[in-house]
Symmetry: C2
């Protein structure tokens, strides 16, 4: 059996014209190949007012705030950051195949909880947004189990329901949500979670999505899972202390992390999705033909480096 | 705003008859409540010939082999286990939001690779199975982005395509697949991977699923991600050495890990799925109404303990 494989590889190496043509036809371009050819205008530099640097002992996590989707949360999070609320708080909960959550370990204890300073204690839910023609929406044609329509809206995976006039951000891998108490208005951004497993889309429309991790998921996803119910750490020493959280806008330009995100309304992004949807090469012989909104990663690059 | 929440909680505590009735109506049962009422016959004890104990420094991972779906792979893996092939091999690759893979770190180097002993070097692909009325299939009514039909088949999330007469296991969280080279027949079970992120359903029908992790995913999912392309560890010391891999059947009965899995054709399993699909309580006010096959966890329990 190995013999046959070796023969195929050997023939491919010989690159006989007809075989090479066949290979070309069969091979879908890779994301890397497509990104190498992307036009510079297809990359955007996120607004530094919406970029959050969370510095952990293992490195930097960068979050882009969803200003258009949860403006009140974005504003409150900015206030908390600027008043250094998050510095010295911690990763308090890691529930396998679900979320990594951070904030004040004593946040639930009124006597010990850190002051929110001038930030608000409660906020309007911002779980959904009224559907409006001004909301960009590049619809994904593949369908979805949870929502009538899914697609991308200016860098965020989103869903909409035209019948009910609503749009919302989907809880895909890397989504940053606002932890809250039972009441819909009890979230304020002082405790946030990132999705680290199979997209828990049942959270959609029940919690506010405040943004999306655009760098550093491998840090947030690899912390030991907590032993208490819901993944809370049972011993204080298990918590990972957050060094600092800063807004890129407050960091001198020369010290900012160079990062750009591929525009989700660009031709290259559409091509990247299609290449994954119909991936066919020597290894993947059977293309899926479809793709789930949460199986699509939005490419980022360091613009100071040549290759993305 | 907090005041309103407190009032709601206070009223609930008072448990006025009408309010209690309302609460009862609104509250879907939790998985825990449903499992507490499950009949003993709804739980099955996996065949010890199909149960793999992989002992890592962080604890035991238990895999149930998919005997009915990839019998040649199951047989080869049993041979490898019985000849102690895996003992001393390692976790060699962790790619974020994708897979944790283990096997012989020198497996790709013919000169240094560990001998497979009497196990086979190549196997028939077993990526799909011919659709047959004898294959149990509890269809999920929610639809699926990737396959015409999805459901559960004797403990495994599966898909089928009646038009093309095929059935296959889906790459959901915890699925254990057979790593292979380019050729479809180059997999033999000596290197396996577990899905640790958003279900990469494009792998379906392109790789053999050999089983499913039924205990220990929090161990496999929390290893540091590797720095090389595809998440391979760049330094040998980053690899986690596997202590031993044993078949439960080869372990004296008294020393086996007590574990039972909820039957996927049971009424309780259907109720657990429905409770998650339509979850509505004080926290989740808007039920999703739908559920993705890969958002469903199959409950397990320690039958020596009272509560599951």
């Amino acid at each position: 059996m190995l013999h046959r494989t070796c023969l195929a590889i050997a023939l491919a190496t010989l690159a006989l014209p007809t075989l090479a043509d066949e290979a070309k036809k069969a091979h879908t371009p890779t994301a890397k190949e497509l990104l190498a050819k992307a036009s510079p205008v297809e990359w955007r530099t996120p607004d530094p007012q919406n970029l959050v640097y969370m510095d952990l002992p293992q490195g930097r996590v960068i979050i882009e705030l969803a200003q258009d989707w949860s403006p009140e949360h974005a504003a409150n999070i900015r206030t908390l950051i600027r008043e250094h609320y998050f510095d010295g708080t911690a990763v308090i909960r890691v529930q396998d195949n679900f979320v990594t959550q951070w904030g004040d370990p004593d946040g639930d204890d009124k006597a010990k909880a850190k002051s929110l300073g001038t930030a608000k204690q409660t906020l309007p839910p911002e779980f959904t947004r009224k559907l409006d023609k001004s909301i960009p929406f590049a619809k994904l044609p593949d369908g979805d189990v949870y929502a009538p329509e899914v697609g991308f809206s200016d860098g965020f995976p989103a869903a909409r329901d035209t019948a009910h006039g609503q749009a919302w951000l989907t809880h895909c891998y890397g989504a940053v949500g606002v932890a809250r108490d039972v009441g819909a208005e009890t979230g304020n951004g002082s405790s946030l979670y990132a999705i680290i497993g199979q997209a828990p889309r049942n959270l959609d429309r029940n919690l506010a999505v405040a943004g999306r991790v655009i760098q550093g998921m491998p840090i947030l996803s690899a912390y030991p899972r907590g032993g208490e119910p819901m993944g809370f750490y049972d011993k204080p020493e298990q918590r990972v202390t957050i060094k600092t959280v800063r807004l890129a806008a407050d960091v001198p330009e020369a010290e900012r992390t160079p990062i750009q995100v591929l525009r989700t309304d660009s031709k290259t992004f559409t091509a990247v999705i299609d290449a994954k949807r119909n991936r066919k090469d020597d290894f993947y012989t059977l293309p899926a033909g479809k793709i789930d909104i949460c199986n699509i990663s939005i490419p980022v690059r360091d613009p100071t480096k040549k290759a993305p």
